[in-house]
Structure formats: C-alpha cells, structure tokens
Amino acid sequence: MNQRQTDAPHSKARIIVYQIQKSRDTLFFMNANAPRRIQLFATCLIETLRPQAGMAVVNVLEKLGVEVEYPRGQTCCGQPAFNGGAWDDARAMARYTLDVLSKSDAPILVPSGSCADMIVHHYPEILAADAKYGPLAQEIAARTYEFSQFLVDVLGVSDLGAQLDRRITYHPSCHLLRGLKITRQPAALLENLQGGEVVPLPHADECCGFGGLFAIKMADISSAMLDRKLNAIESTQAQTVVGCDVSCLLHIGGGLHRRGDKIETKHLAELLVERTRA
C-alpha cells in the first residue's frame, strides 16, 4: 500500500491561505492556492446508473469557480476485475484509464471512495512491474482526490451554504473510510448543513455487504450483511441515507426498495446542491 498519497493532501491542507470567493450569489472562504480546474472521472456507475450524482458534483464545483474537464473515452477504473481476481484484465483497464487521465495535467476528482482508492492505492500496486505505466500510475495517484476530500482538503471549503429540510443519516463506505481514511471531510460538510437533522447511524462503519462481485458470488452472506445495515438505517428514522459511494448507495437503495421503504439514497454532492440557504 502506498500510504504517502493518502496522507499528502491532508498535510497540504494544513496550510491554507483563504480568500473570499464570490460565486453567483454566495460568498465562500476558499484556499487561495487551490487549483481552479479539475478532471472529473465520473465512474461507470454514475455514467450508467446514477448520472444525477455526477451532475451534482459538476454543479458544486462550478459554483465554487472550478472548471470541470471531462476526459473523453473514460469508462471504468477496473475495480470489478481487480476485486474479482482477474488481474490481467484489471491491468488492461488501469492502463486504459491512465492513458485517458494523463492527457491533462489537472488534478483528478473521483466522486467515489472505492474508485478513488483503486486509482490511488491499487493502480501503483498492480502496475509496479510495468516500466511505462508503473511510474505513470504513481504520478496520477498523487493527484487523484475523492470528492469530499477535494472540497475540504484542497479547496478548503466545508460550508457550501446548503440547507437541509429533513432527517438524514450518513453511511461511511468501507474503502472511503478504511482505504482512503476519509472521515472528517464528509463530517465537516454535513456539519455545516443548516436545518434538518443528521442522525448518527448505529454501527455505521460496518460494511453494507456490497463488495462488488461479492454481492453476486456470495449473495447469501452479502444479503445477511445488507439486512443488518437496513435495520440500522430504519432505526434512525431518517428519510435519506447519504454516502460518498454510489455503489454502496445503490446496494442499500435496492434493499430499501425491496423492503418497500420510502427512505431514499443520495450522494453527498446531491445533498449539497439541493437547496441553498438564502
């Protein structure tokens, strides 16, 4: 594991020179030295199943005056093959994605904890022996950020003036939490929501049972784990479950829908653009 890259943005974030940024009708305190341009790696699940989460990410960034590049030809980071044990296939997808992302020198923003973890930690690992792509993987990993991490650590923004009108609960997805060790960034963004209520999720750090192909290969175990998660969510009486991984949210959402629950799932970005306080 390459710990350096996870820690880098945090340490950078310690010294933030703030400036006031006026965007549309809201004022933000922002890191004066933050990049004003990013490349968005939207992930295959947002592309095909949950585009509104991606659009919300774009909205948040543009609101903050950050230009969004969308590298053409992007598809999937290759995590399904990597986790499935088909590493040769995973390497092919990693090399492909690295080619797509290396055309621009802008930092890469990934609105998914597990896909960001794949690029940041596992690309350098599976391509270590590759003379061309090994070093490229290191270079790309060093400028890849998860959504909440980018907002809080790089831009220095944790209050977007967003408003909340209901009871929500937050599920910290596993690769975000334990792979990238991102905890305080989403917490800071949620803390600054005004109105509504953020209810702690019991046993929040337990896996929802998704695990990619695990949900299909080991469907029985996965279902049992999901049951526990759904019970915990129901116990909060929240109307919305928020997370930073569309994969886990779709898994949880599918379970909630099967149960006939009215609880909806939302990516953190969707919540941040929903309503702006006056």
């Binding site: 295959c44 991606g54 080991m218 599918g254």
Partner: protein, 472 residues
C-alpha cells in the same frame, strides 16, 4: 492437513450457517462483546498505535532473519536441557509425538490449547495409537465432548449456547442438566483435575519462542496451560516455525498487544515463560521438555506475496471484527484457521486449488486490517489469492468470461457506449425506466435480486447530460 469434504461445498456450509438461528445468537453475543472489550483495552493503552507499529516491526524483522533466530532459539532450548524437533509437515509432527509417547510408555495425554495440533489432527494420530487425549481448555473440552472442531482461534466454543453445553455435559459427563455457566465450569474443573493428575504427557501450544533465552511463552487464563506444563512428567510444546521473537523486551511488546486485541484484557491471567524442563534440584515440573517446530508450508509461504500473513500472532481480533465471520461463524470456512486470517493462511499453506472460495468470502471492507495488532493488510492478500485462484482456473467460467468481456468493452469507448445503450434498452424491456428498479435478474446475476432490487439504467447517461449542459 485439513479434512476437505469434497461433496460438501463452501456454499453448502454457508447455507447451513446462515439458517442456524442458534449459531447466529451465539455469534452475535460473542463477537459484539469481544469487539467492545478490545476497543476499550486499546483505548486505555498509551500510544497504542506506536506499540502496534513496534509489534509489526518486530514480527517483520524476526521473519527477515528467521533462519538465524531459529538456530539461536534451538541452541538455547537445548542449553536449558530441552529437546528440539523439526517437523516438515503434519505427519512428521504427529509421528514425533507418537514416538515420544511410545518410548516413554505414555498412556494418557492432557492438552492445552494448540492450533498446531488442530492443523496436524494430532488427537486422531494419538488415539490411533490407543493413547487417551483430553482437551483441558474449557472451550476445547466442550468442543471435544461434542465431537466438533474449534470455530474460533481464541474462543473455540463460541458457536455454542449455554443451553447446548448444559445438555452436552448432562449426556457426556453425567451431571444433572444446568444452563448455569458457574456450575458447568465447576463440573469441568472437577473432571479435568483428575485427568491432569493422572496424565503422563502434557501437550501445549506456544505463543512465542524467545530466541535469545530459549524460552517458550504460553499465555492463558484458566490455569490449564500451567497444569498441562507442570503436572505430567513430559511436556511437549508445539509451535509454528514463525512464532519467534528475538528477546524478552520484544516479547513484552508483543504481550502488550496480544491480550488486548484478543480478549480485551491488559494481560492474561497466566503468562508462562518456560525455559527447559525442571532443573535437577527442583521439586516439581516436567522431567522432559520437547519443543516441536512445525513447518507444514510456512517456509514456502515466506517466498510468496502473502508472506506478511506469517506476522499473525493468533489474537482473533480479525474474526471478531469481520462482518462475514459474524454471519457464518468459523465452521463454514471448512478450514482449521477461520475468519479473515484463515481465508488467507489456508490457501497459502495448503494450495489455492481446494480453497479457492475462501479468498472470495470477503467484501474487502477492511475491518480486519483496522483491528490487526500487527497491521497485516489482509484485504490485499485476499486479493492476491483471488488472482492465484483465477490463474489456477478456479474462477467460475461465467465470471471469467464476464470479466474478460467487461474488460474488452471498457477499454473501447465506442463499445462501452453501445453497451450502455443496450443496458438502457434492457432496463426498458423489463419495464424499469430511469430511477426505477429491476425486481429480478437472470442467472447468474440472480444472486443480487434474491434480496434487493437492481437499479435501472439511466435513460440519459452522465456523459450525455454533461455534454448537453455544456451546450446551453
């Protein structure tokens, strides 16, 4: 080697486990309690992270010079009057123990907890020679009476409720039925005390061997370990070749994390440091000490990508933290070592082919890595072994094919777009539009829809929506 019952698959065992309500109750109670005990114990330890880093460093350093430390350890055990035997595999170990028993006229054996003896199925080997073997750790004793195997490294009978144990004691040791743990414990003490006093040989495990002093360290709470290594005239200690620490200072570091991670205690009730048999002038203790070092694949694991699994100190914390273990318990794994560490260690020691399901029995949530006192990156090693499984041709054909097609598709953007469109049409065909849900998927994807709906493909993909927003 482990018994691999070929006609019962991993999935069958999982099915049974998931349906077993008693098992669920027992596991829930136990793992939950273990987790909170561990968390509290580590919270109390000053600089817990520093100590864990040091513990990891000690394990890594020891293994990097394992040959040197083994030779030092052997020389020092012998200097203290002990005998050392190497066993290349399970059979060799069993044969050594049987040989010691034969030449010394041993009829009865008492045993302390030893995962090595489970690994080699030593009890069967001794019983085949008509030697009586009695497990003396309460959990192991329960499991032995029930004719089962341990389901947890630290708490062997974790899968049993007190009612089940009460019934077992009633039938096997003829006491009136009770579900009071105090009465059952007293009964076991009474029965086992006679066994201790009457045994010719005591067999124990080893938590750490100290290279510099030739001591073996054995930690336990019940006192059965002390009795096993004190009362019988012969003490046989079984250890894996990897379980060394260089010196006593290093030992004290390992002990700081072991009990805390394992049972949430600061230290176990008894920390035994045994250096040779009783000395000539000592009144009690065993006349002979035999230390048997088992390889059984470990020396080869050292050369693999999962060598780090040999850092393991068998605390069991990863089992308690694992959401999969909590659902299925230890027996479903089918292996001697269970839970996350077992899922890595078993294929490493015994080959991936018979155990290719184990590395897949994880959602890779990383809870095991987070609690491991020596910070073993278990998820990474599960992934490495999944790659081994694929290379050994053990990935199901439909997954193999599916992933190959998937990889082919996503590295060709046009094809990817086409596939997305196909997915959209597919969703529409089953009547699910954007934001909708699909209630049932065809095999082999039906595992998903057994308990949850699948999201419909968006009628307008993200890239289409993004492009459209640029044109405004």
């Amino acid at each position: 080697m482990s018994e691999h019952i070929s006609n019962v698959t991993f999935h069958d065992r999982v099915d049974d486990a998931l349906r077993n309500q008693i098992l669920h109750t027992a596991l829930d109670r136990a793992t939950g309690r273990f987790q909170s005990l561990r968390a509290n114990a580590l919270a109390e330890l000053q600089d817990a992270d520093v100590v864990r880093d040091r513990a990891r460093l000690i394990r890594a350093h020891t293994l990097s010079k394992l040959d040197t430390y083994l030779e030092q350890f052997v020389a020092n055990v012998e200097k203290a009057g002990g005998h050392v035997h190497f066993a290349r595999d399970a059979n060799a170990l069993n044969e050594i123990v049987n040989e010691i028993a034969r030449t010394r006229n041993v009829r009865g054996v008492v045993k302390g907890k030893s995962m090595i003896s489970e690994e080699t199925h030593l009890n069967h080997a001794l019983e085949a020679e008509h030697i009586r073997v009695v497990e003396t750790d309460l959990g192991e004793y329960i499991v032995q009476l029930a004719g089962e195997t341990p389901s947890h490294i630290v708490a062997p009978a974790i899968h049993k409720t007190k009612e089940e144990i009460g019934e077992l004691f009633h039938q096997k040791i003829n006491i009136p039925y009770t579900d009071d743990p105090a009465l059952m414990t007293a009964a076991a003490r009474h029965v086992l005390r006679r066994e201790f006093l009457d045994a010719d040989m005591g067999i124990s495990g080893v938590n750490f061997g100290v290279a510099e002093t030739g001591s073996i360290c054995l930690v336990e709470n019940e006192g059965n370990g002390r009795l096993t290594t004190t009362a019988p005239r012969i003490h046989v200690a079984l250890m894996g070749i990897e379980r060394l620490v260089p010196n006593l200072d290093d030992l004290s570091v390992m002990l700081q994390v072991l009990a805390r991670s394992s049972t949430g205690q600061k230290i176990t009730v008894y920390t035994n440091l045994i250096t040779g048999p009783r000395q000539d002038d000592e009144g009690d203790g065993p006349d002979e000490l035999h230390v048997i070092l088992l390889d059984n694949g470990r020396s080869k694991v050292l050369a693999t990508e999962v060598a780090e699994i040999l850092y393991c100190i068998r605390c069991g914390a990863c089992l308690n933290a694992c959401p999969v273990y909590r659902e299925i318990g230890g027996h479903a794994y089918g292996s001697v070592y269970t839970g996350p560490v077992g899922a890595v260690l078993t294929p490493a020691l015994e080959g991936i082919a018979p155990w290719s399901d184990l590395p897949h029995a994880s959602s890779l949530c990383g809870a095991c890595r987070q609690v491991c006192p020596v910070r073993i990156d278990i998820p990474r090693m599960l992934l490495v072994e999944r790659d081994w499984a694929t290379r050994a041709g053990k990935l199901q054909w439909w997954l193999r094919l599916g992933l190959r097609m998937y990889s082919f598709t996503v590295t060709r953007p046009t094809l990817f777009k086409l596939a997305t469109t196909a997915g959209r049409w597919g969703s529409r065909l089953v009547g699910a539009s954007s934001g909708g849900w699909i209630r049932s998927l065809p095999p082999p994807l039906n595992g998903w829809t057994q308990s949850r709906d699948f999201p419909a493909f968006a009628q307008k993909s993200f890239s289409e929506q993004f492009e459209a927003s640029r044109k405004k």
